[in-house]
Each structure stands twice: as C-alpha cells, then as structure tokens.
C-alpha cells in the first residue's frame, strides 16, 4: 500500500466541523473539472492513490483518468463502497426490495432469485452481495483498484447486526473477482478486528479514525493505541486532523509516531495544504 492516500470527503460536502464549509465545498466542486484539478495537484505532489467513495460523480473522474492513460500512468483508485446515502434514501423511498432492484444492473437475476423460490433470504445474501459489488465496481472498469474497501456505514451495520460471515464473503469475492486486497473502514476498530479474526479474514487492511483527540474512536484512545501496537492487521489512519480540530503538525506527529500505521488518508482542496500535509508526513517519517 502507498503511504499517503488522498481522500474525497472535501469534494462531496462532508465536513465534520461546519455545514457552511461543507456547502461551500460542494459549490466549488460542482464540476468534475474542479475535482480533477485538485487530484492533479495531489498527483504532482507524489500522491498516487485516490481513496474514494463510489459516488456517482466519481464515475466522471474515472472516465477522465481512463481517457488519459499516459498522464495517469501511476494513478490508482482505492474504491470505498457503497455510497450509502444513495441506498438509505432509496430504501426510504421505495422499500427494501424495490430499492435493491433499482441498484442491480441485472434485474433479471434478482427477479429470478426472488421468484424461483430462491428468495432473498434463501437466502443467497452472498450472491446478492456479489451483484451489488459488481454494480459498484462498474465505474472503475479498466482502472487500477488494488484495494477495495467496504464503507464504514456498511461495515459497522454488519458488525452491529452480527453478520460476521459477510466480511469473509466480501474479502473472498474482492480477491477473486478483482484481484484486489479487501479493506474495511470502521469506527469500531477493536471490535471489528475481533470479528474479522473470528471470520477468518487474515491480516486485514482496516481504515479507521486515528487522531490525537480520539474523535470517533470507539473503545477509546488507549485501546486504539494498544490495538495498533499489538494486533496483526494493516492500519490506515483517517480523520487524522479531526476536521481541523488539531494543528497539522501535532496531528501528524501523533499518527506518524505509531510505526505500525501503514498509510494515512487525508483530504484537502488547496495546493498549499496538500503539499504541507504530504511534506509533513514525509519529514516525520524520515526523522523517526
């Protein structure tokens, strides 16, 4: 995995500190061109991975990268699926089955599953999950996606409900079909690792909030630090700046000081911030 990953929250109006700021960002990035400009800056600064939600607008980013293979020779995507609001809103709007139908490219398949006595619950959840993964991955066709993540809303929903085997299904399918490493995003790192161990997902890539103020680190800072230091998994730190609640140097010193953390994902919109953050990480890595 690359050490520095570029995130996408800033492009889609996600900001944990301010709705106003989030909206201003939505306006700024309404054209995919504006997103590409920032991605280009990050790429120029040596950040080769774009860790992104399978938001429908990412499809346009994919098109652009596909159309310019030379320019983006080293560019990689780490897709994070699904873009959950799309599903949540659809479930509210259409009900569960109808919503599923809408997201599946091969309606026939689901129809057959539902009809032929092989009801949803017969419950071929594994088969259904595969259809949904394929639907989400469609936009990345022909692009490099060496790591594919399950978004935290889904990871943590499955974790909460106790669908422990689902993690193994996801991991196996992503490896087999996309030749990619499975990754899991969670807000409940220690608990998820317990379940992944039990489910037989070995040495998993897990991305979670890791920041000095313990923002959204369920189980607490101490347990996180101990977990990172002692357990067998490949940690990625996100929300390291806690949406700006911590100064960049202090924030990155905390993360870079934990040697087991393999990668750091961050989002930024200006060349100055991108360069500063990437430089800080590289400097801190050199020192220690």
């Amino acid at each position: 995995m690359e050490r520095i990953l570029f995130g996408d929250n800033q492009f889609f109006g996600v900001n944990h500190m301010s709705e106003e700021k989030a909206r201003a960002q939505s306006v700024r990035f309404k054209d995919t061109q504006a997103i590409m400009e920032v991605l280009d800056i990050a790429y120029e600064e040596g950040i080769k991975v774009f860790m992104c939600t399978t938001h429908e607008r990412i499809a346009e980013v994919c098109d652009h990268v596909r159309a310019n293979p030379e320019k983006y020779a080293d560019f990689q995507f780490y897709p994070c699926m699904p873009y959950a609001h799309k599903y949540a809103n659809a479930v509210t709007e259409y009900g569960m089955i109808e919503a599923l139908k809408r997201f599946l490219p091969e309606q026939g398949k689901l129809g057959a599953m539902l009809k032929g006595g092989m009801s949803l619950a017969k419950k071929d959840v594994e088969g259904l999950a595969q259809l949904l993964i394929d639907a989400e991955m469609k936009m990345f066709h022909g692009l490099r996606t060496p790591v594919i993540f399950l978004q935290n809303v889904v990871t943590d929903l499955l974790l909460g409900l106790g669908f422990d085997d689902a993690f193994k299904y996801f991991a196996d399918y992503v490896k087999e079909k996309y030749d990619a490493e499975p990754g899991f995003i969670t807000m409940n790192l220690p608990r998820l690792l317990d379940v992944l161990d039990k489910a037989g997902v070995d040495n998993p890539i897990v991305c979670s909030n890791i920041n000095k103020i313990a923002f959204r680190m369920c189980g607490g800072k101490e347990l996180y630090e101990k977990t990172i230091a002692t357990r067998r998994f490949r940690p990625i730190a996100m929300s390291v700046l806690a949406s700006g609640a911590i100064s960049p140097r202090e924030a990155l010193e905390y993360v870079c000081g934990q040697k087991q953390i393999e990668s750091i994902v961050f989002g930024a919109s200006s060349r100055g911030n991108i360069r500063q953050t990437a430089q800080l990480i590289r400097d801190l890595d050199r020192i220690s």
């Binding site: 889609f12 109006g13 996600v14 900001n15 944990h16 500190m17 301010s18 709705e19 989030a22 939505s26 609001h85 949540a88 809103n89 479930v91 509210t92 709007e93 259409y94 009900g95 569960m96 089955i97 109808e98 009801s119 949803l120 619950a121 017969k122 419950k123 959840v125 809303v153 943590d156 929903l157 974790l159 909460g160 409900l161 106790g162 669908f163 422990d164 085997d165 689902a166 807000m187 409940n188 608990r191 103020i213 313990a214 923002f215 959204r216 680190m217 369920c218 189980g219 607490g220 806690a242 949406s243 609640a245």
Partner: protein, 375 residues
Amino acid sequence: MTESRTTARVRLAMVGLGKMGLSHLAMFRPHPDVELVAVCDTVGYVLDTLEKYTGVKPYTDYNKLLEQEQLDAVVIATPSKTHGAMVRAALDRNQHVFCEKPFSLDPAEGLELAELAERKGLVTQVGYHYRFVGAFEEVKRLVDANAIGKLHHARIEAYGPVVLRPKPATWRTSKSEGGGCLYDYACHGLDLLNHLVGPPSNVRGAVLNKIFSSDVEDEVYASMYYGNGMSAQLAANWSDESYRKMSTKVTLWGTEGRIYADRQEVQVFLRGDAKPELGLVEGWNARYTTELTDEVWFYLRGEEYSAQVDHFVKHVQLRDPNTRCSFRDAVQADVVVGMTLRDAQRADASDDGAPARAAQPAAEGGSWWKRVRGS
C-alpha cells in the same frame, strides 16, 4: 458509557425491522448491558436472513413474542399507526418501552399510554435523537443558563432529500399511517423546539404543501406562539436534495444575543458582557462537534443514535423513568403536530386563500395542555 456492570443485563426484543429498526438493532445488540432475546417483524425475508446469518430468534407475531419470552424491555420501530396497541401490550406486561417517533398519531391515546407508564413506574423513551446531538445539548445548556437573556424568537429548520419525485406508495407516503414531512422531518424540529423552549400555546399560519407526493405533504411551515412575547417559526422540507442528508438547524434570539446550531457546530453571538461561567466571550463564540460530542461505545451513524440507545439501557437498569425523551415529552410533540394539522385544515377550508381566523391567535385548550405537560 456503562460504568457499572453490577446490574443485570437488559433482556430486550426488537420489533419492526425497517430502516430504523435495523439501525437500532445494530446498536442495541452490541451494547454490553443488553441481551438481545428476539426480533419481530412481519416481513419474512428480513427475519429469515437475520436468523440464518446472525442466529437471532425470530418472531412474526408480536403477541406471541410477548407471551413466550421473558423480557425487560421492547424496542418498537414499526409504522407509526401501530405504536399505540403495541406499546400498550408491552406496558400491560410491565415492560419498559423504547418507541420510534412519532410516538402516537392520536395524542389522546399517547397521553393515556404516558400516564399508564408513569403509574407503573416504567422507563419510556421515544427516538427523538436530536435531543442527543452534542451541539443541541450545548444549546439546551446555554438556554437553561439564560446565556442570551430572555428569548423572543426561535427558528427551526429541517431540510433533506427524501421525496424527490413522484413515487410509489409506502407507509411513509400514506397520510393515515403517519407518513409525510410533518410526521417525519417537521416533528423532529417541533420536538427539539419543545425541548429547548417548551411547547407553544398556539400554532398559526401552518402550511402543509405537496410538492411531489400525492397523499402527504412534502413541506411544512408554521408559526408558534408561546403567549409571553416569544414566538417561533418552523420550516421543514424533505424534497430538498441540495442537502446531502437530513439537516436540522436551530436559531434562537434573546435580549442578550443569538445562538445558532446545527449538528456540527454552535455559534453564539453575545451582545453584552462576556459570561466566563458559561465559557462565552463578548461577540462571536464557536464550538464544534469534535469538542461537544462524547465518545460512544459503538458508532454506526452519528453519536446521537448510540447515545440515545445507551441512555435508555442505563435508565432501564436503574429503573429510572426520567429519560431525556419520555413518552410524555413525545406526546407534547404529537400535540403540537396536531395543532399544526388543525391550523392547516382551517386554512384549507377558506377558499379565498386567506386564513379563516382572527388576526390574533386565541389561547388553545388550557387544561388539556396542563395535563399534557404533567403540571
């Protein structure tokens, strides 16, 4: 967080496995002080899937569930019109109840249930999760401490993308089943207002307007009067996709300043001197969710959802009926919803487009309010 494990785990069943039900299930189940006994729903495929993959015990018949299992509490997340009978059945068996909002489509029935639970000393809670949002809790703290002096106006707004085009019917789009923006977005806003400034004595100028739905309103506007120079306005629109998800914000004006808050931040403008005891300087103050939010034991979709679950579990363990959002609190929201509905109907009945009522709102049912407030 649960500091004491000396109390027995709460034996609990989850009823209704729609979107909210699954979300609650995913938070109650991993709670260290909860023993999830069973789940109940009429939809077979959700039940079957859960049973097959998570091993939970399924019921399709709510009464059978109550008969066959020894429960301390039930969590009800079924369509609103079914709440009344289900809640009563649980209370009759002396079980504590967490119920999704809106609590009851019939405030009189809701009040009866609240009173029944109170007589029995049972713990009740309704899922108005905004009461557990750190930023809004901070507003409550500031309001209770008179941070901006005497309040004279409040504005509550809720926008988001639920109904964005004409669409097939579900219970959420059926008026008689408690669908519509009023029972969904608006009633969150009304409850939050009740929580912050108390319930109004009048609702006027209510607008319930359809944008895309055929049976229910997609936007709600209303003015609330409190009888002491204080007023409030509500605006709710669930057909606004310029918001990524439901977004609720509140603004309060007082003689000594203004407070604005949404899920992410609280901004206070203080007109007079600093109030160091409240951590406020003169002029602008800002506090953010990162500092206002307490850690939760399990995170799914916002700390407030986890916090309300933990709050209920703790109160059940302690047999403490004073939850932050009891049935009685929720009935107060239902009553304001009813007032809004009646006012909108009055306006509808007038065919010249002007509201058929006196310019000055008259006081509405004083003794009824006394009973609802429990005073």
